[in-house]
């Protein structure tokens, strides 16, 4: 019998695991995918080898890459980008760590208070969240992004829009700024040389500007795992959880098992109340099933997998909201082509952003060629110059929106990847019940019936569509202001990777799965701690910081409710995840 079993070692699960390990609980962390304990042996810097969603080392699938990836049904032109493995989808994320906008929390009374997703606010105030933001920001740690040439290009454009620069953690209104990133600032030779021989740790510390965020961060070369620049959870929270005994008084290291696919959460009636009792998981390699009991079970499998696990476990869904209300920031993508170098794609994937509550935001994104080409062809508007698929909007970009394909794409890319700058349009999108996860009618895989992710992207709410159009225009203006000679709008088909709110926390029993403490309404001792528990799309900010802050809060609630402990976030100081005690212990453990 464990104290706590956490399902999934992605963005959210390791936060709960680390916090409760620090309190001395016996925590088992189960991860469906691989460990990647030796990135220098397992990873490269190549896009197909890393990012091919079928065969890459970053994919949703078992460790054994000769086996197919896990198939998920998407009944529309779309792409759900989730990874398995320790670190989950943070393994290839960009580490952008803005806070959710205050307007998405209960009690917000700004002048624009009616402009947000007002029916789906967080069931507590922004002020209550702030200490949890601060705790995660100090743990990661989150830092103001260093600037490279592509950020300089972005700022040149942002400066033409008549907006102030944000110099606070909290976003108070439309503004632009360097990202607050979960990426260590460059130190020593990092960022100052391209000579491999001079870029070994500790001569170089923090971000070396390699440009490989998407292929996984294992730099500077020779650094301990917890000192790699990008703070994906495999480099931050997981190392802390595995070494809790050395940095927390009374801490107890977690047990981490990988290639362990949880197929069932068990629950039984206790004193008339349905209560979680443990889980069953399946070893990807041997196929063997294991069962373990726990006092508390935490679902952290992500927005797509949690609903699947819920349904496959036969758990009740009285208000029908399990899997519903999935938000994805209804992204769009604009490409600017320049006469001069923009600095693309060197450096951190994205280090500059523009926030525009209550519409959403923008950020620059650097990508290598294959991902750039992919991003230019993912569209709901057909092929530019050929067909518009019923859309193909015109606006302050050049020509109709749509795929840049074939000869046009080749010409654009041949101009030089360093002459491009791409801007991600992040929409503050509404929670809508029909955007959801259900079980697919397609055949089950070895872990049971598979999830189906439905997005009615052509029927989003008027507010969502308005926000997206508004931000797409801003993106075009920004690119022109930066000096782009030509601007392309792709009108992305849903690229679902800022995932939120499919098991949402809410004040109302009518439209939420999780109560304001993070516990599921239908099953006691079962908590949700990852992006799926988020109440809404946060106004547009990238979700992981808010998700981890919420997971920290949920860890406190678990500890206080079921283990008789006191909350700690307001009374203790966090230990930073780069702490040398963690590094030394990792070395002893051969990690």
């Amino acid at each position: 019998m464990r104290d706590v079993i956490v399902i999934g070692a992605g963005g959210g699960g390791p936060v709960v695991a680390k916090e409760l390990a620090a309190k001395g609980l016996d925590v088992l962390l189960l991860e469906a995918g691989p460990r990647h304990a030796k990135p220098r042996d397992e990873w490269t810097t190549f896009e197909d080898d890393a990012n091919n969603p079928l065969t890459g080392y970053f994919r949703p699938g078992p460790s054994d890459r000769s086996k197919p990836a896990w198939f998920r049904e998407w009944p529309q032109n779309s792409f759900v980008w989730q990874l398995s493995g320790v670190g989950g989808t943070t393994q290839h994320f960009y580490g952008n760590y803005p806070r959710a906008y205050p307007g998405v929390f209960q009690g917000y009374d700004g002048a624009d208070r009616n402009e947000y997703d007002v029916n789906h606010r967080f069931p507590f105030t922004y002020a209550e969240m702030v200490p949890y933001f601060e705790w995660v920001e100090a743990t990661m740690p989150v830092m103001t992004a260093a600037m490279g040439h592509k950020e300089q290009t972005f700022f040149r454009g942002a400066e033409t829009l008549g907006l102030p620069v944000q110099t606070t953690k909290t976003t108070l209104g439309p503004s632009y700024r360097p990202q607050e990133n979960a990426i260590l600032q460059p130190g020593g030779t990092a960022g100052k040389t391209s000579d491999k021989n001079l870029l070994n740790y500790p001569q170089a510390t923090g971000c070396t500007f390699c440009g490989y965020c998407f292929q996984g961060c294992m730099r500077p070369n020779g650094a301990p795992r917890n000192q790699f620049a990008k703070r994906s959870t495999d480099n931050s929270y997981v190392p802390m959880a595995l070494t809790a005994n050395v940095w927390a008084r009374g801490g107890r290291p977690i047990e981490l098992i990988t290639d362990a696919y949880v197929t069932r959460v068990h629950a039984e009636r206790r004193h008339g109340v349905l209560t979680a009792t443990g889980v069953t998981w399946r070893d990807n390699n041997s196929g063997a099933e294991h069962r373990e009991d726990a006092r508390v079970v935490v679902m952290s499998g992500g927005c797509t997998e949690n609903p699947r696990l819920w349904f496959n476990s036969g758990l009740p869904n009285p208000n029908g909201w399990v899997g519903r209300g999935y938000t994805d920031h209804f992204f769009d993508w604009l490409i600017g082509s320049f006469d001069d170098s923009t600095g693309n794609p060197k450096g951190v994937g994205s280090s500059a952003r523009l926030d525009f509550p209550p519409y959403g935001g923008l950020e620059n994104v650097g990508l290598p060629p294959a991902l750039s080409a992919f991003a230019g062809t993912l569209s709901d508007s057909g092929i530019r110059g050929q067909y518009g698929n019923g859309r193909g909007k015109t606006g302050p970009w050049d020509g109709p929106a749509g795929r840049v394909m074939g000869p046009e794409l080749k010409e654009l890319m041949a101009g030089g990847i360093d002459k491009l700058m791409t801007v991600l349009v992040i929409t503050d999108d509404d929670v809508e019940p029909d955007n959801r996860v259900t079980l697919s009618a397609l055949p089950a895989d070895e872990n049971g019936p598979i999830p189906k992710v439905t997005f009615k992207h052509r029927q989003r709410t008027a507010r969502t569509v308005r926000n997206r159009e508004f931000m797409a225009r801003k993106a075009a203006e920004l690119l022109r202001g930066a000096g782009a000679k030509k601007v392309y709008r792709i009108d992305w088909a849903p690229l679902i990777l800022h995932v939120q709110s499919s098991m949402r926390m809410g004040a109302s029993e009518q439209n939420s799965v999780v109560n304001p403490r993070g516990e599921t309404r239908a099953v006691k001792r079962l908590f949700v701690a990852d992006n799926s528990a988020l109440s809404n799309a946060l106004g547009g900010p990238n979700p992981t910081l808010t998700s981890q802050a919420l997971a920290t809060r949920t860890a406190e609630k678990i500890f206080a409710t079921y283990f008789g402990g006191d909350p700690w976030v307001r009374s203790e100081s966090p230990v930073v995840s780069t702490d040398p005690r963690v590094s030394v212990r990792l070395g002893q453990l051969g990690l």
Partner: protein
């Protein structure tokens, strides 16, 4: 650009399927892969050295799939090759053919797309034969420029049926190629004949785009056209899946064409040559790096912020 009305999708007579998707042409057309005598039953009966029907048909389908996917990958990234010329958009610098994008697609489709057999199999069967119950030969076919004897058709028919009924998993590249070829002949019926093995590869760039337009706007149209009887719970999934497939083919072919796939050595985890797209775009001129000297400071000199 105004969105012109796309051509309507007409349900096909089942018997026209194999011609349209190119199997007949690839098998016995001018430049076809099968010696016509192989399909002659008199020969087959007497010649012990002839391979069984399934062995005859498998390479035909594989070549047809490859040829079709050549037509797709040059659509994603044209180059100096014959397929790009046929498409009408040749380009002097290396493209998808040189970058190995067709192998990328075949490898992905046939070995790694965990697409459910429950859908691939019936779609594949419909696309590859379209003759399951009716029997091709009896219906008589009028194919422009292709004179096929009834005996040859019957043999081909039987070979296809045997293949589809065998326990072999149908490589996904076959139904995908079938889908593209079917759409190709909707867009341009004359594409059943011409250079290359497959109708899709014979299309111009604009015609290929028109074929994708048909796939992308699929609702019931294409599903009706396929006329496949899926088990009930799956039926609702097919149209959505086809939309997904349409988008994914374009995006994935492009990703493959611009990736290092063709020159990556799995054993050493190193590149054998500079990838086509790296030369094209000037990406990392000296190969992979540990870092860049691109750090130019902090915006407005601010290294941290607080509330």
């Amino acid at each position: 650009m105004p969105d012109a009305d796309p051509p309507a999708v007409e349900p096909l007579a089942r018997r026209a399927f194999p011609a349209r998707i190119g199997v007949l042409g690839a098998a016995v057309g001018a430049g076809g892969l099968l010696t016509r005598s192989l399909l002659n039953p008199a020969d087959a009966a007497t010649n012990q050295l002839l391979p069984p029907a399934v062995d005859l048909i498998r390479p035909v389908l594989a070549e047809l799939a490859r040829d079709t996917l050549n037509g797709l990958t040059v659509f994603a990234m044209p180059g100096p090759d014959a397929y790009s010329r046929t498409q009408g958009t040749p380009s002097p610098t290396p493209g998808a053919m040189e970058s190995g994008a067709t192998d990328f697609m075949i490898n992905a489709l046939d070995h790694f797309v965990p697409f459910p057999d429950a859908i691939a199999q019936p779609v594949g069967a419909a696309l590859v034969t379209g003759l399951a119950d009716s029997g091709l030969a009896d219906t008589g076919l009028a194919l422009p420029g292709l004179s096929v004897l009834p005996v040859e058709l019957r043999t081909l028919d039987r070979a296809l049926a045997a293949y589809l009924q065998s326990d072999e998993t149908l490589p996904l590249s076959f139904p995908i190629a079938g889908l593209l070829n079917l759409m190709a002949t909707q867009v341009n019926p004359l594409a059943v004949n011409g250079p290359h093995l497959s109708p899709f590869a014979r299309l111009t760039y604009a015609e290929k785009a028109a074929a994708f337009e048909l796939i992308e706007r699929t609702d019931s149209d294409l599903v009706a056209l396929l006329d496949v009887h899926f088990p009930e719970p799956l039926k609702a999934s097919v149209s959505g899946l086809l939309k997904f497939v349409g988008g994914a083919l374009l995006e994935f072919a492009t990703f493959g064409a611009y990736s290092e796939y063709g020159v990556f050595d799995k054993e050493t985890k190193a590149l054998r040559m500079r990838p086509v797209s790296w030369s094209l775009t000037g990406y990392q001129p000296d190969g992979p790096v540990e870092g860049w000297d691109d750090f130019i400071g902090y915006y407005q000199g601010r290294k941290e912020v607080h509330d």
